[in-house]
């Protein structure tokens, strides 16, 4: 099913009153669609409870440290944070611990040195990487290929998210040794850069040299498809290029429906926002939720795209 297995959020929040309690949201800024939709859903979910949310969102890692410190100083009942620079946030998190302010991390994992000091609602990035590899293997096998060369355009390599996705991807791909990665480039979560690099890699390996491509997010996979089309590749179908991605946006869903993108996976902001909001309510009402929860991720392909169309349409 398309819903996460975590406790249903709809029941959890509506009745409880948390007025007088405060939380600080040190999340991704609204300058990023993922963050914008997360913030929207998160705020809307918690609005009925009357909890006061301080907006400390930003997209700049330096500013984030400062805003986090600010949040600690304001001693809210809980700091909800999504981390931009994993190591840079380690010390501030320690300081929050020393000041006795609880911290809830969502989306990407914290630095291992503070992993035990925080609560977390994490995307399952390894799973997302595994799904991408499954998509590719499934697609290539369906075309009846017994060999295949793959190019990979990753998100910013310095981020744990990227590293975890690659870990899962490589793990699954190792089960099908006939398919192998011939090029892996850092495209910095940048659509334009993804397009440029894809153009060059496709030219480098030629039409027979690439059978599949993995763009780490939908907005990176779509430029690969464009570049491939312009380079004269056929996309999908019986013998075309298999392109997959690993977190879903509306554009990706449309592309799957159009038969171009082979598949993607969830990690949609709405689901995480709901689960995080729910976690906040459970925590503040003393229900002692588990220290760490993982959002259940789903693989999306043409077979089940209808189920996820709504869920993935917000960013």
């Amino acid at each position: 099913g398309g819903r996460p297995a975590a406790p249903s959020p709809s029941g959890g929040t509506s009745g409880t009153s948390l007025s007088g309690r405060t939380i600080a949201l040190v999340g991704y800024g609204n300058g990023n669609p993922w963050g914008a939709y997360f913030n929207k859903v998160f705020t809307e979910r918690l609005a009925p409870t009357g909890v006061k949310i301080g907006d400390m969102t930003t997209m700049d890692p330096g500013t984030q440290v400062q805003k986090f410190n600010q949040a600690v100083a304001q001693k809210p009942d809980l700091i909800v944070v999504s981390i931009l620079d994993t190591t840079a946030m380690a010390v501030p998190i320690k300081k929050a611990g020393a000041a006795g302010v609880p911290v809830l991390v969502f989306d990407g994992p914290p630095d291992p040195s503070v992993a035990d000091a925080v609560m977390s609602v994490l995307s399952d990035n390894e799973k997302l990487g595994e799904y991408a590899a499954q998509n590719i293997i499934e697609g290539l096998k369906a075309q009846g290929r017994d060999s295949g060369d793959i190019i990979v355009l990753t998100g910013t390599k310095s981020m744990l998210v990227t590293q975890h996705r690659m870990k899962g991807f490589n793990k699954v791909l190792a089960t099908a040794p006939q398919y192998k990665v011939v090029d892996e480039q850092d495209a910095n979560w940048d659509p334009q850069l993804s397009g440029t690099i894809a153009q060059q890699l496709l030219a480098k390996h030629g039409k027979d040299g690439v059978q599949a491509a993995y763009g780490m997010a939908d907005y990176m996979a779509l430029p690969i498809i464009q570049a491939a089309k312009q380079a004269g590749f056929t996309i999908g179908g019986k013998d075309g290029l298999i392109v997959t991605s690993s977190n879903c946006f509306k554009a990706g869903i449309d592309s799957i429906k159009a038969g171009e993108l082979y598949g993607t996976a969830t990690e949609d902001p709405g689901t995480i926002a709901e689960q995080t909001a729910d976690y906040v309510v459970r925590y503040l009402t003393g229900k002692n939720p588990p220290r760490s929860e993982t959002v259940q991720e789903e693989r999306v392909t043409a077979a089940n795209v209808g189920e996820f169309a709504e869920q993935c349409s917000h960013a």
Binding site: N30, M56, T87, A88
Partner: protein, 356 residues
């Protein structure tokens, strides 16, 4: 009534103190701009509890001073080159390089890391200064190219990954609270500003710096060793930027190969608010200090009042728009033209006195 009067008195006194601090004349933009912006932002800061519903604490000031430390050395570096009529975009690259070097080489001895960073920054600055002075190239394209190259260098050094700094002692030390509102990092930054103020205000270097920015050729003819000074200025800006980056790296316990253009742009905003003009020849370290404090406090106000992030951008845009308006000669002329057109018709009546 009395409140209003004490308010006025306090206003007058701060004005006098700050006026003396920043310079003697109020009429000149290099004095008025930083003073007014700092006063405005301080007032807004003092009023921020009205929005946040929470009294200001020492920690708010501490956090602002951390913001000041993050920006200060960069603003000082770019500000000094701007006074000299140059524009050192590469400080953003030196800043990144300084952080990367300090974190990579300073694992055991933080001092060694800082020294390595500072030496590299100075070397990069000296080479650029040498090129710019000897070949008389405009600094913008040269420093832009250096910025791109340095970015590539930090990328190569770290394989594009953020690098973690494991020396937790250093991290805790640079950010420990001093007197509740300062930290070694912000103190060092403050000292750098004061040192610059003393040196530039008390020796002939300050005069020469502004002369070089005001009229390069004339300074040369007057006997100023312009080329040597320019090499010195770029070396200094590289050093300061690298030091800033190193301290930031320690503070974050990590170094990012690409901190982006944001720090650079904020440093430029701070310098402009500090009364420096891009045309050169104008400004002083204390003005830069006021400008940097303004930017740091502004960021803190946004944090304290939990305003959305984009409102900071709009605020900066508004501040810069004021600077553009104050500084553009054409606007002044347009106003003069308008006034002349208005009085022009009355002046048509004959027999008005001939005094100019």
């Amino acid at each position: 009534m009395t409140g209003q009067m004490t308010g006025q008195m306090i206003g007058r006194m701060t004005r006098r103190v700050i006026g003396r601090m920043i310079g003697r004349s109020w009429g000149r933009p290099e004095h008025a701009m930083p003073a007014i912006s700092l006063l405005l932002v301080l007032a807004a800061f003092a009023c921020s509890p009205l929005l946040s519903g929470r009294p200001l604490e020492a920690f708010d000031v501490y956090n602002a001073s951390q913001g000041f430390a993050q920006l200060g050395l960069l603003a000082l570096a770019i500000g000094i080159t701007m006074i000299a009529g140059e524009f050192d975009l590469s400080v953003a690259g030196t800043y990144a390089l300084g952080g990367m070097l300090a974190v990579q080489t300073g694992a055991h001895s933080p001092v060694m890391g800082v020294l390595a960073a500072v030496a590299a920054g100075a070397a990069v600055g000296a080479v650029q200064g040498g090129l710019i002075a000897r070949l008389r190239v405009p600094s913008l394209p040269v420093t832009l190219a250096t910025y791109i190259a340095l970015l590539g260098l930090t990328y190569t050094m770290s394989g594009g990954l953020s690098v973690t700094y494991a020396n937790a002692d250093a991290t805790l030390w640079v950010d420990q609270q001093i007197a509740g509102v300062l930290s070694p990092r912000s103190l060092l930054t403050l000292v750098a500003f004061l040192l610059a103020a003393v040196v530039l205000g008390g020796t002939k270097l300050g005069r020469e710096l502004r002369a070089i920015g005001g009229d390069r050729r004339a300074s040369r003819v007057a006997g100023v060793g312009v080329d040597r000074r320019i090499v010195g200025i770029f070396t200094l800006s590289g050093t300061l930027a690298a030091l800033g980056g190193a301290l930031l790296g320690y503070s974050y316990a990590s170094a990012n190969p690409d901190p982006g253009l944001q720090p650079l742009i904020l440093a430029i905003v701070a310098a402009l608010l500090g009364g420096v003009s891009l045309a050169g020849g104008r400004g002083a370290p204390l003005g830069l200090l006021a400008g940097t404090l303004s930017v740091a406090l502004l960021a803190q106000i946004v944090a304290v009042t939990a305003l959305p992030d984009f409102s900071t951008q709009l605020l900066y845009a508004a501040l810069l728009a004021v600077i553009v308006a104050v500084e553009s000669p054409g606007l002044r002329q347009a106003i003069e033209r308008l006034r002349a057109r208005r009085t022009g018709s009355t002046a048509m009546t004959p027999s008005q006195g001939g005094r100019p």
